[in-house]
Symmetry: C2
Subunit: 698 residues, 2 copies
């Protein structure tokens, strides 16, 4: 990451993508050497230009290329011969561009794997090391501000937009800006791994279309946890259209959204859904490094109308706005006008603008309020008209003074909506005092929630055995097939998953015999590995109360299945003791091609089918995480005994999930889907029993 | 609204709230006369200052007051004597400030009611008529832009912030800015009524803490529908804290959120939840006055990373991004670089910046694409650095040219996130060509959805009998009580609501007799108007299959109720024929103190209790609206026959809702709550039957 001699191939005197890589280091005072290389020119931006890599005065250790894609693999191979150890490929036309491009990208990947060339890109803007002034970065960046935030983005445009906005508008400094495009060589996970141990970096923001190294992602997240460093990710690709778009943009497979959500969440990675939320979250996390344990927020505003809005926005995302203590209210009444009505959110009223003493006293009171952990001050900070009224400058000074005088409360400022230039005479002094300035009530509240949840994640004990050794990329075996019933029961039994007592019968006689042994009433089911949904083909009869009923059911089931699924191989009949009570759950395992298997859990029946109410986690699971999964289901109240039912055996359900996770771990590369549908969760103390199952294995 | 002589009471040479009202008309060139009035000064801002209202050269027809609240009622009474017909009360200290303030506000309300004084405020910024330059408005507004958007806001600060942002950043012009504070005299509804018929206004944006005249609101919304004029409302007060905050801010009762949602929705009023969404929606609606019927959106971006994000954002809010037609793709391929991958969202790629001919041809192609109704172009438009690169200026010209050349497609532009000043050399030419500039992908997609839904609302036939004559404010009778069973059955029967056949029995003998008549099995229930939830006190026995079972159940029910609800008066027992099937719904009526009764509908059991999945509409209802209510429930698939059930009689359920609405209309002022819980919706063709009910009436 720290080259001393950079060759830039494809620059021209006209400002193009490569020329910007020559201009930026000059602007920011890079100490190393930059060699433009282009046979057409003798000089570019006052630097001598060389016809090829071999003719530079010293061999370049990093080359930046912005030439037609088809020429890139050859030029890079030459660069390696010439001693280059790293390359930034700005050119487009690789994996995002159909099969020809894919072949080119494969050539780059071979150079990386076989020749050890570290490639950033292709189809990217490159890397800007702000402190070093090392700007192998193809965007117009003349003013930079060093600081603790690193931005990693597949998209070059977003890397620049995010960085620019943080530095110019929010007075937030950056350590690195990295745009890695198609990730042919170095991946997002590699850059994050570097940044997590970088001394200048305290917060990492990532714009990702897809990950390439899931195990490394989890490992660097674990390292970030040790260093208490937040990683904020905006992951694109939730919709099918977006997944197609990421393929077209950076040739990236976006992955299964629910499984990626689970990975990020379990890794303590903060996930945001909009760029405004990203900007506010990074701004807050870059500043908010000391705080109390609690997160009760008191809002102060000079706009009465904001008070109701802030309360609604806080309520929507689950931020607690406590009542001010009685003594704080009394203090506020003592110096605020009669018509003021001190509460939280606290309305400074027009008096705040007319009497300069009121605002500092309000802050002082809230910063001493015993029920307040966070003071969130709403004030406009747009650039005033020339000579216009700018009361927020005075407020910013008062806030900075109060923070400098010492407080253990987190103090943040925010506008009611995002838009228009921020007054740096407001934002600047606040930033110097460590007070972040956020834009829009909604994203400010989300940012506070993210900071709170990240802090809570750090406070929780590290789950046992969360990390095995890196296992490389999961490659799903292509030839998975459903196990037959005996194999499936053996595998589930091996992991201690409790199944309804089931006997395999070859025909009606054996079924009656089995039913006698199990005790009536019984359930009869078709036994066929070719049938995933038995009820749909008439393959299930419940409540068979005696021998006659079993015989009848056996005949009818076989007849129905022959009629409705004529090609299915019928292995026989399954006879189960009937379980009449319990809450129906669907639990199982779902696999992502890259991330591998995840454990899923939802309520049976309408909840899964109609509401898609499902919790997902990556194995391994501990009991606490399994309980967290269950609690997060919208219907979880049902298990606690809603509607007059007895409380269900949630511990047994959690235990089943932990066992499923162990099974998923053990058969990671062979496993396809696995369903226990339904798993009946019985009354507290009576356990949980799977009554039907389906296992796909290679 | 059009005064010629304005007196301003309470101004001083130091810029205070009243002085601004003197400064603004001067800045914007108001043609009428302004008389500062303050006994302490001889001149303010170069205008002669008068000691009192009696000494102005001509009597003022409008007075603006910014004096301590306690003096306001007296001064206004004097103003009325002096000929004033209207007043703007900037002062705070009224209904928002406890009981003393409430008395002052009551005095203003009497002046309005008895002396015909039209009062704006108190606790407001006043009114700015932009075209007339009539700025009785207490905020620093030196530059204004006339145009079609009217802003009405209880909060003065927000009225200014919204107006400023629209005019300065978005190049959107305004007709009126109205801040009406506590609404002691003229209400939001009154202002909207005026604006709906104002020739200069085409879109109305409202920031409301609470409404005062619900019937007028519905009537002005109906008038707006006739004029195809959208009204966009940001309503505060969803959370309990926010409801307290609105009381403290403008002394406003926020009302029941679900019922207000229903009123706004049925009136075709667009509801937004954030100011950024408000700004984008107003900007879009102010421009988007011609379009095709469809709303299929094609997104074009010069930022590849935006394509996936835009697809996700569109998917989240239900905006359709169709595939480009094959011929459009072929055309795009003909002039775009090899590595481009034309699809929707369409990535212009780096080539768009390097070859100026590509962008206009892309627009041209999409504007001819047969599956595209709306072209949404993503591009940054922040003010460039001095001498910096500003490609969007060229794109803006190309877009304006293309629109001027004629297209029936709606064209909009948007940024990826909101923040920083917009380049008026981009936004200005776009605005002149009728192309709105929106900030942030997420709010742009929401704005498009709002525009679509508003247009669809206008296209739907006006529901029959939606409007009766105005009925004034609903005043709920305070002495509502539960009806006894016979009265309740009579009332429900009168409106044709089908009830399970039910016989009232005085004791076990009568119950057995009734059961014989009804046919077994029967359900026995306690009959007591003091018991709202019969099951909770052991007051229900289902499935009584014969005389003995009925006798036992009767004894046990009475014993259980005596034990668990010892104070309840027991009127007897209810015997019902048992209905074993059907989908359990809860339907009924809920009342808001101001808006009156609303019809509610949800699934019984866990859906209502756990998920709070309820649809709400105001009466009267037509069948189409009742069907819309049902369709909007998350569980509605259950009624269509999910999970192997037969389809339910949705028409009968809808009919029950229409009948409940008629009942609610007829007993509007007497009705409290009404519950049919459960209403069993039987198989298609078999109807819907209420099996338990509770009616509260005055």
């Amino acid at each position: 990451m720290k080259p001393n001699r950079i060759a830039v191939i494809g620059a021209s005197p006209r400002m193009n993508r490569a020329t910007r890589v020559i201009a930026n280091p000059k602007h920011v005072g890079y100490a190393g050497l930059v060699f433009p290389s282009n046979p057409k020119y003798a000089e570019i931006l006052d630097l001598p230009c060389y016809p090829d890599l071999g003719s530079t005065p010293e061999p370049a250790d990093l080359v930046v290329v912005a030439i037609p894609a088809e020429q890139v693999p050859g030029v890079l191979a030459g660069a390696v011969e010439n001693g280059a150890r790293a390359a930034v490929v700005l050119s487009s036309g690789f994996a995002e561009a159909g099969s020809v491009g894919e072949a080119r990208q494969a050539a780059l990947e071979r150079l990386a794997a076989e020749r050890g060339l570290r490639i950033c890109g292709p189809n990217c803007y490159g890397i800007f090391d702000i402190r070093l002034g090392l700007a192998t970065f193809s965007a117009d960046m003349t003013e930079v501000r060093p600081g603790p935030v690193a931005v990693v983005s597949q998209s070059g445009g977003f890397s620049q937009a995010i960085a620019d906005h943080l530095m110019q508008q929010r007075s937030v400094g950056l350590s690195y800006i990295i745009s890695c495009g198609n990730q042919a060589g170095v991946t997002i996970e590699d850059y994050v791994e570097f940044l997590v141990d970088d001394e200048d970096t305290a917060v990492i923001g990532v714009y990702a279309e897809g990950f390439r190294q899931p195990d490394k992602l989890r490992h660097v997240a674990a390292r970030a946890r040790e260093r208490c460093m937040p990683i904020v990710v905006l992951k694109v690709g939730r919709s099918e259209n977006a997944r197609q778009a990421t393929l077209a943009h950076t040739g990236t497979l976006a992955g299964t959204p629910e499984i990626i959500d689970a990975v990020l969440r379990q890794s303590g990675i903060v996930q945001v859904t909009s760029l405004n939320e990203m900007l506010d979250t990074l701004t807050l996390l870059a500043a908010a490094r000391r705080y109390r344990r609690g997160w009760r927020v008191t809002v102060l505003s000079g706009l009465g109308g904001e008070c109701g809005r802030a309360a609604d926005a806080a309520d929507r995302v689950g931020i607690e706005l406590p009542s001010l203590s009685a003594s704080s209210v009394a203090t506020l009444r003592s110096f605020m006008p009669d018509f003021a009505n001190p509460r939280n959110p606290l309305d400074g009223t027009g008096a705040m603008y007319e009497n300069a003493e009121i605002f500092p006293r309000m802050i002082d009171t809230v910063l001493r309020d015993e029920s307040t952990d966070v003071l969130a001050i709403n004030m406009r900070a747009n650039v005033p008209k020339p000579g216009g009224w700018a009361p927020s400058r005075g407020y910013a000074r008062a806030i900075a003074d109060a923070v400098r005088a010492g407080t253990d409360r987190l103090v943040v400022c925010f506008t009611s909506f995002a838009g228009a230039d921020l007054d740096q005479e407001v934002v600047g002094p606040l930033a110097e005092a460590g007070v972040p300035y956020l834009e829009s009530t909604e994203t400010a509240m989300l940012a506070l929630r993210h900071a709170r949840e990240h802090r809570r994640f750090l406070e929780r004990p590290v789950p046992a055995a969360v990390l095995g050794s890196p296992r490389g990329t999961h490659v799903a075996a292509p030839d998975r097939h459903p196990l037959d019933n005996t194999e499936a029961m053996r595998l589930l039994g091996e992991f201690g998953i409790r199944l309804a007592e089931t006997v395999v019968a070859r025909g009606a006689d054996e079924a009656v015999e089995a039913a006698h042994r199990l005790g009536y009433p019984v359930v009869l089911k078709i036994d066929s590995r070719d049938i995933a949904h038995k009820t749909e083909v008439g393959g299930v009869r419940v409540g068979c109360g005696g021998a006659t009923a079993v015989r009848e059911a056996a005949d009818e089931i076989v007849a129905a299945v022959r009629r409705l699924a004529p090609r299915a191989r019928i292995e026989g009949l399954l006879v189960q003791r009937m379980i009449a009570d319990g809450t129906e759950m669907i639990v199982g395992i779902k696999s992502d091609p890259l991330f591998g298997p995840a454990v899923v859990c939802g309520f049976g029946g309408i909840f899964v089918e109609v509401l898609r109410d499902v919790a997902v986690r990556m194995p391994p699971l501990d009991a606490a995480t399994a309980h967290e999964m269950i609690a997060e289901l919208r219907g979880s109240a049902l298990l606690k005994g809603a509607r007059g039912r007895p409380p269900a055996d949630v511990a047994a359900l959690a235990d089943t999930l932990v066992r499923l996770a162990a099974l998923a771990e053990a058969h990671r590369d062979r496993l396809g889907a696995l369903d226990l549908n339904p798993l009946l969760v019985l009354e507290e103390g009576r356990g949980a029993v799977a009554v039907d199952w389906l296992v796909e294995l290679a």
